[in-house]
C-alpha cells in the first residue's frame, strides 16, 4: 500500500512537471476525452474535478442511498441499463420493494430489477402491511472487497482512488468473484463473457459528472460525492447525527455505500 502511494506520488510529480514544461498540450480538461460527445459546454456536476489534476491517492468518494426518499420509479435502473447497454436479466443496480406485516414477516420482490417500475401493488399478499419501502441496490464498493480478494488473475481490483472495477481485457470469466460478492451485484455479461458490476460510473466521475443513476434520480434518494469536499452533501450527511448503516456489516467488507433509513430487515 505504501509502495503504491509512493509510485502514485511520483506519477503525480512527473505529471505536474510535464504540465509545467508544456509537454502535455492544452487544457487539463482534455486529459480525458469525452468519447464521441463534447463535454466542454456541459456543466460539471461534481466540483473540483475537471479543473484539477486527478490525484488517485487522495480521493475519497461515498455513495449514500436515502431509503426515505426512494419512490421506486426505477429511473436509476433505466439510466444504468442505457449507460452501459446492460444485457437483459443482468443488473448493475436494482430497486427492491419491501413489505412488512404485523408479525414481522418480510416480503420482498423486484420484478425485472425494477426496470419497469412498480405499476401494481403485490396482489399475492393477503396480510395487513405495517411498513413498506423501496431499497435501491448497487455496488457497495467495499474497502475490503471479497471480489478482488478472490479474483485469480487480478482482473478485478480496487483502484488507488477507491473504486472496485473490472479489467475486461484480463478477466477469464471464471465467475469466482460472482460467488464471493455478498451483495450479488456481479454478473457474467453474456455478451462479453466477462464479469461485470456497478462501478459508480467511474468514467463519469473522472469527467466531473455524477453517476448516471444519481443524475436521473428525481427525488435525490441517491447521493454521491467527494468526502474530501466538506461542502458536499455526502460529507455533511456523514458528519451529521443521522443513523447511517451499511449492508451486511457482519461480512467485514467495510462498504463505502451507506444507507439512510434502512430498516434492520434490509439485507
Amino acid at each position: 500500500m505504501k509502495n503504491s502511494t509512493k509510485i502514485l506520488d511520483e506519477d503525480r510529480r512527473s505529471f505536474i512537471k510535464k504540465v509545467l514544461k508544456g509537454t502535455i498540450a492544452g487544457s487539463l480538461l482534455l486529459v480525458i476525452p469525452a468519447g464521441g460527445n463534447a463535454l466542454e459546454d456541459i456543466p460539471a456536476q461534481i466540483p473540483g474535478i475537471r479543473d484539477k489534476e486527478w490525484d488517485m491517492s487522495k480521493k475519497r468518494f461515498a455513495f449514500i442511498v436515502d431509503i426515505t426518499r426512494c419512490i421506486g420509479c426505477g429511473s436509476c435502473c433505466v439510466a444504468d441499463k442505457r449507460e452501459y447497454n446492460v444485457p437483459d436479466h443482468n443488473y448493475r443496480t436494482w430497486v427492491e420493494r419491501y413489505l412488512k406485516d404485523f408479525d414481522d414477516n418480510i416480503y420482498v420482490d423486484c420484478p425485472n430489477g425494477g426496470l419497469d417500475g412498480y405499476q401494481k401493488p403485490r396482489e399475492d399478499l393477503d396480510v395487513p402491511i405495517r411498513d413498506t419501502f423501496f431499497v435501491p441496490k448497487l455496488c457497495n464498493m467495499c474497502k475490503d472487497a471479497p471480489c478482488t480478494q478472490v479474483c485469480p488473475v487480478g482482473a478485478t481490483f480496487t483502484t488507488p482512488d477507491g473504486f472496485v472495477i473490472v479489467d475486461s481485457k484480463r478477466c477469464v470469466g471464471c465467475g469466482y468473484c460472482i460467488q464471493a460478492c455478498p451483495y450479488s451485484v456481479r454478473f457474467l455479461n453474456p455478451v462479453t463473457k466477462t464479469a461485470e458490476k456497478c462501478t459508480w460510473c467511474y468514467h463519469r466521475v473522472r469527467k466531473g459528472m455524477l453517476p448516471a443513476c444519481v443524475n436521473v434520480c428525481p427525488t435525490g434518494a441517491r447521493k454521491f460525492g467527494d468526502l474530501n469536499d466538506k461542502e458536499s452533501e455526502v460529507s455533511k450527511i456523514l458528519s451529521g447525527p443521522g443513523v447511517i448503516t451499511v449492508l451486511k456489516k457482519e461480512m467485514g467488507t467495510d462498504p463505502s455505500l451507506y444507507y439512510i433509513g434502512a430498516r434492520r430487515e434490509v439485507i
Partner: protein, 174 residues
Amino acid sequence: MHTPHNAHVKRLLAALIILFVIGFFAKQAFQPKSFGKYGHYRADAIMEEANRPMRLMTNPSCVKCHPYEAGHQMTGLHKTISCEFCHGAYADHIKDGKKIGTLPVKRNAEITTLCLRCHNRAIEARPKQVIKTVVMPDHLRAQKVDEKHSCNQCHYVHAPLKYINHSKKIMGLI
C-alpha cells in the same frame, strides 16, 4: 551397460531446468506492461475505464437544441426529472454533434404508464412527503373527466401544473 547409472537423472534435471527457465522468461514476456504498477492488476485498465464514453449526457446537453420544452421543464415541478429517462440516451440521438437517431416520444397510454411509475398511490411504499400521488381512476372521477383520459390531457408533461395553474388564474380561482 552403455550409459552411466545416473545419466537419465542428469538429463531429466537438465530438461526440468530448461523448462523452468523458459517458463520464467515467458512469464516476464507475456505479463502486461503496466501490471503491478499500483497493485496486483493492470494499471492501464484504470484509464481505459475512465475513458469509457458517456451515453447519458444530462439535461443541459438537451437544452441546447430543445429550448422550448426545456424552458418549461427547468422551471416546472418536473425540473428534477432527467430528459433521458423518458426519451432515451443522448448517445442514441447525437454523435459527434450530428443527429444519428430519433428518440421516441411517448403517447397517450404510454404516458399514463410513465406517470404512474412515480405517482401511483396504490404503491404504498412511496413516501408521501416526497411525492404527490393519486389513485386511479378515482382522481379522474374527482376531476369530473372521462376515465379514459390520459394524464397529459390535463397535465403538460414537462411542467405538470403549468397550464392548470394558468387556467385557474384566468378563472380567478387563484
